[in-house]
Amino acid sequence: MFVCWCGLNIGGVVDVPRVVEEISGCPGVARAVDYRYMCSDPGQQLIRDIIREERLDSVVIAACSPGMHESTFQSVAESAGVNPYRCEIANIREQCSWPHQNEPLEATRKAVELIRAAVEKVRGDEALSALSIPVTRRALVIGAGIAGMQAALDIADAGHEVVLVDRLPHIGGHMAQLSETFPTLDCSQCILTPKTSEVGRHPGIRLLTSSEVESVSGYVGNFTVKIRRRATYVNWDLCTGCGLCTEKCPSRTPSAFERGLAEEPAISIAFPQAVPHKPVIRPEACRHFTKGKCGVCEKVCPVGAIDFGQQDSLIEEKVGAIVVATGYDLHPKAKVGEYGYGVYPDVIDGLEFERLNSASGPTQGQIRRPSDGKVPKEVVFIQCVGSRDQENGYPYCSKICCMYTAKHARLYKHKVPDGQPYVFYMDIRAGGKGYEEFVQHATEEEGVLYLRGRVARVFQDGEHVVVFGVDTLSGKKVEIRADMVVLATAIVPASGAKELARVLKTATDEYGFFSEAHPKLRPVESLTRGIYIAGCAQAPKDIPDTVTQAGSSAAKVLTLFSAPRLSHSPTVAAVDEEICTGCGICVEACAYEARALDTRRHVAVVNDVLCEGCGACAVACPNGATRQRNMARSQAMAMIDAVMG
C-alpha cells in the first residue's frame, strides 16, 4: 500500500502520515508507506523494492487518477513480479484532495475510506493477462477536405492503403471554395490542386466520392465498414470529362458550390479543377427524373456514359483505423433574423464572399453584390455572428473569423480601391504566425475601419442595407448605409456529424464536434480506440492547424499499424452461465455490440475484444450472472462496506 503526496497536490490537504498509520492496520495490508512523488523514478524503485521485500501479491497505490498513471504503476508492479491487474489505484487527488481543499480533516477521512475500498477490491482481483488482437493495416479517412486529404496522403505515403470517402462528388472540401488564404494571400486553388491531383492519382488511395459511411462494426485494428456509394447516373469508367453534357443540359438550379450565387446544370462538375473531373446528375434537378422526359445528356455523350438506371451500391471495407475529417458548416441563415440573413440578398456570409472574390466564381472574381450586380462602395463586415453568443448561437469562438474578415476587407480594397470596408468586431484574435501583422496591415495600409462593437440590426432601405451598430470605444451609436454586408457566421459541425458519431460509436460535444480523448495530451484521438480526428470535425480551425492535426492523426494511425498485434485490457465482462437466464437485457445494454445471446444454450455471451469493460451489462443484469472481471459484485459490496464502515 503506497500513498503518494504528489507534492502539495495531495500532501497539502490530506494528512498523509495519518493515512498511512490508519491503513497499516487494515486486514490484508502487509505494509503501508508514503513518498513525495510516487511516479518518480525513486518512487517506482521504492514500490519494486517493497514488493520484493514483502513478497507482495498485490498492490494499492493511492495517488492521482488512474487515467494519469495506472499504466505506469501496473508496469512497475509487473516488473517486480506482481500481476498488473492486481495493482489498484485509489484516486485521492482528483476525487479527494482537489475537491476538498478547504476540508483537510474530511479529506483525510475520505482518503482512508477510498484506500480501504481499493484494498478490498484488490483482495478480490484475479491475476489476468492482456488479450491480444490482430491489426488490419488499412485506414479509412472520412471527409476529403484539406484535413482528410493530408491524413490520407501521409498514411498512403507510408505504404498503407487508404480508403478516402467524401459525400460530395469531388474532393477538396471548403478549401476549394476559398479565393485566397491568410496570412499570405496565396490563391487557395493554387496550393490545393497539387494535393487534390496527388490524391486522385495515388495508387495507395481508394477514392470513393459521392459516398457515405453507413455502418461500422468491429474494433480497433479490425473495423468492418459499409459505405454507400450514391448513384451518379454517369458511368465514370467510360466518361472522359469532356463536358459536352453539362453544356447541353437545359436545367438550371442554384449551385451549392457557389453558395446559391450562381446556377448550374443538373449534370455538372462543380468547378474546373474538380477531382475527379467527372460529372454527376442531381436527380432532384434533372428533367429526366423530375418530369420523365429529356435525356439530352444521354444523346450528346460521345461515349455513352450516361446511365439513368444506375443504383446506389454498398461497398464493404476492412480497415484497422479510422480518421474522421468531416469538416464544418456555417451557422444556419434562419437563425440570424436581426441581420436579415437569408432575406436581404446583399447580406451574405463569408463563404459567399469567397465565391464573389474567386476567379472561377459567379462574377469571375469581381466584387459585385448579388442583388443588382453593382460594385458595392460601402461594405460592412460583421464578426461573431452566432459565435460567442450563448443566447442566440454558440458560446464558443469560431477562431478563424477575425483573420478571414481581415482578409476579406483587404481583398475588397484591392479590387475596389475607392470603396470603404468597415469591420464590426469584439476582440481581434490573431494568434498565429504572421496573423497580427496581417490585421495591422489592414488597418494601417489598406484603410479598413475597425469598429469595436456589435451590430444590433440590419435592414433593407431602398437599395441600401442599413446597419445599426455601436462603437463602444467612442461610446457612439453608429449607422452605416451600406451597399453590402458580410457576416462572419459561426462555424458549426458538418451536418450529420452527430449521426456519424453514433455510427462510429464515439462521442461528440453538445454541438456535434467530435470529442478528443484528452484536450491537451491526446488531441487527435477520439474517445474510441482506433478512431482519430482531424480538422474542423473537432473544433473550428484554420488551414495550418488543420494540416498539422491531420499529419498528427496520420502519425497515430501509423503508430497503431507498426505494432504486430494489439493488446486489449482483460478487465472485460464475463458470464456465469450457470445462473444466466438468457433474458438478453445485457445485449441491449451494451453500446459496443460485445454482447450476444447464444440461442442454442439460451445464455448470453461476451466478445472479449469488443468489450470496453464499461460495466453497463453487469449493472443491467438483474441477478449478477454477468460480472465485470476484477469488479465482481462481491468486490463492489466489499468496497461499499469498507467505505461505509
Binding site: 433574423g337 436581426e338 436579415g340 432575406v343 440590426r457 435592414f459 433593407q460 442599413v466
Partner: protein, 300 residues
C-alpha cells in the same frame, strides 16, 4: 379552425385605457368581433394590469393585480383575450411567472388567497382573428374595400418582446399585422422602425423626450408612402400622434395613427359611431373620406 358564425365566445379583458382615453379601440373591436361571430364577454372582476411588467426580482407585489385578474378569468374558461398591447404583455408575462416560478406563484397565491397555477392561455385579439376566425375568412367578410389604402403596421415592443415568454410572432420580422392588413385589402407599407420603441412612458419626462423616437417611427412610415399607421397599443398611438403635433404637423400632412380594430370596423362596413376617432391629434377622417372609405361627417 374556420369561421363558425355565432359560435365563438371568449372572456375578454379591456384594461383601463380602453374604458377612458382609447374608447374607440374597444368599441370598434367589440363591434367588429360581433360582426365576425366572435363574442368578447367582458370579465366581471378585472382590475388594472399595472400597465408595465415589473422588472424587480425581489418584489412580487406588482404581480398581485394581474394575478387576481388571471385567477378570476380562469374561472370563466381556459382563455382570455386582450386588445391593448400593454395588457397583453403584462398579463401574459405574469401568467408565465405563475406557471414556471413555483416560489413566486406560492407567494402571490397566498396573498390573493387563490390557487391559480398559470394555466390560462392569454391571447391577443389579433391571434383570435388569425387562428380562430382566419384571415381568409376575414377577407371574405370585408364589405368596404379599403381600395389599396397604404397602411404601415407598427408593432412596438409590447407585442413582441420577450419572445420566449410571449411567442407572439417572429420578434425580428413579425408579419401578423401585415397579413391582417392584406386581408382587409390594404396596401402594406413595410418600414424598418416597425419594431422599434416609440418612447413609451418616457412621454411623462419633461421636455418632450419621447417624441424623438416616435418621430423616427412616423418618419420611417411616412417616407415610404404610408397614409396611416396601425397599432394595438394606446401609448404608441398617443406618442406617435402627439409627436406630429409640432413642426411636422404644419410642414406636411400628418400620418393618422389608428387602432387596427378601427380599420377593421370600417372594412366590415360597421356604423361610424363605433369608430371613436375623437381625441386623435391627426384626424383620420379627412384621409378616409378622401380615399372614399368613409362618407359621413360622424368623423371629426
Amino acid at each position: 379552425m374556420s369561421l363558425r358564425q355565432g359560435s365563438m365566445r371568449y372572456p375578454y379583458f379591456p384594461g383601463c385605457t380602453l374604458k377612458a382615453k382609447a374608447r374607440g379601440f374597444e368599441t370598434s373591436a367589440v363591434a367588429s368581433a360581433g360582426a365576425l361571430g366572435v363574442h368578447l364577454d367582458e370579465m366581471e372582476n378585472w382590475q388594472c394590469c399595472g400597465a408595465t411588467f415589473p422588472l424587480q426580482a425581489d418584489n412580487s407585489f406588482p404581480l398581485v393585480s394581474p394575478a387576481r385578474t388571471l385567477a378570476s378569468a380562469r374561472k370563466m374558461g381556459e382563455r382570455l383575450v386582450t386588445l391593448c398591447s400593454a395588457c397583453y404583455n403584462v398579463l401574459k408575462r405574469t401568467n408565465h411567472v405563475l406557471r414556471t416560478d413555483v416560489g413566486r406563484r406560492d407567494k402571490v397565491n397566498a396573498f390573493i388567497e387563490e390557487d391559480y397555477a398559470g394555466d390560462l392561455e392569454v391571447m391577443h385579439f389579433l391571434e383570435v382573428l388569425r387562428d380562430d376566425v382566419g384571415f381568409d375568412a376575414l377577407a371574405r367578410s370585408v364589405k368596404t374595400s379599403l381600395g389599396g389604402l397604404a397602411v404601415a403596421p407598427y408593432y412596438g415592443c409590447l407585442l413582441l418582446r420577450p419572445n420566449d415568454e410571449l411567442g407572439f410572432d417572429d420578434p425580428e420580422a413579425p408579419h401578423i399585422l401585415e397579413d391582417f392588413l392584406s386581408a382587409l385589402g390594404c396596401q402594406v407599407v413595410d418600414h424598418p422602425y416597425k419594431i422599434e420603441c416609440c418612447g413609451s412612458y418616457v412621454a411623462l419626462e419633461p421636455g418632450d423626450l419621447a417624441s424623438g423616437p416616435s418621430r423616427m417611427v412616423v418618419e420611417s412610415a411616412r417616407s415610404r408612402g404610408a397614409q396611416a399607421i396601425v397599432t394595438s397599443c394606446p401609448l404608441c398611438q398617443y406618442n406617435l400622434d402627439v409627436a406630429q403635433q409640432g413642426a411636422h404637423g404644419r410642414e406636411q400632412a400628418g400620418v393618422p395613427v389608428i387602432y387596427f380594430t378601427q380599420l377593421l370596423a370600417i372594412a366590415l362596413g360597421l356604423p361610424e359611431d363605433v369608430l371613436g376617432f375623437e381625441g386623435h391629434v391627426i384626424s383620420p377622417g379627412p384621409l378616409l373620406r378622401c380615399v372614399g372609405v368613409v362618407g359621413s361627417d360622424a368623423i371629426a
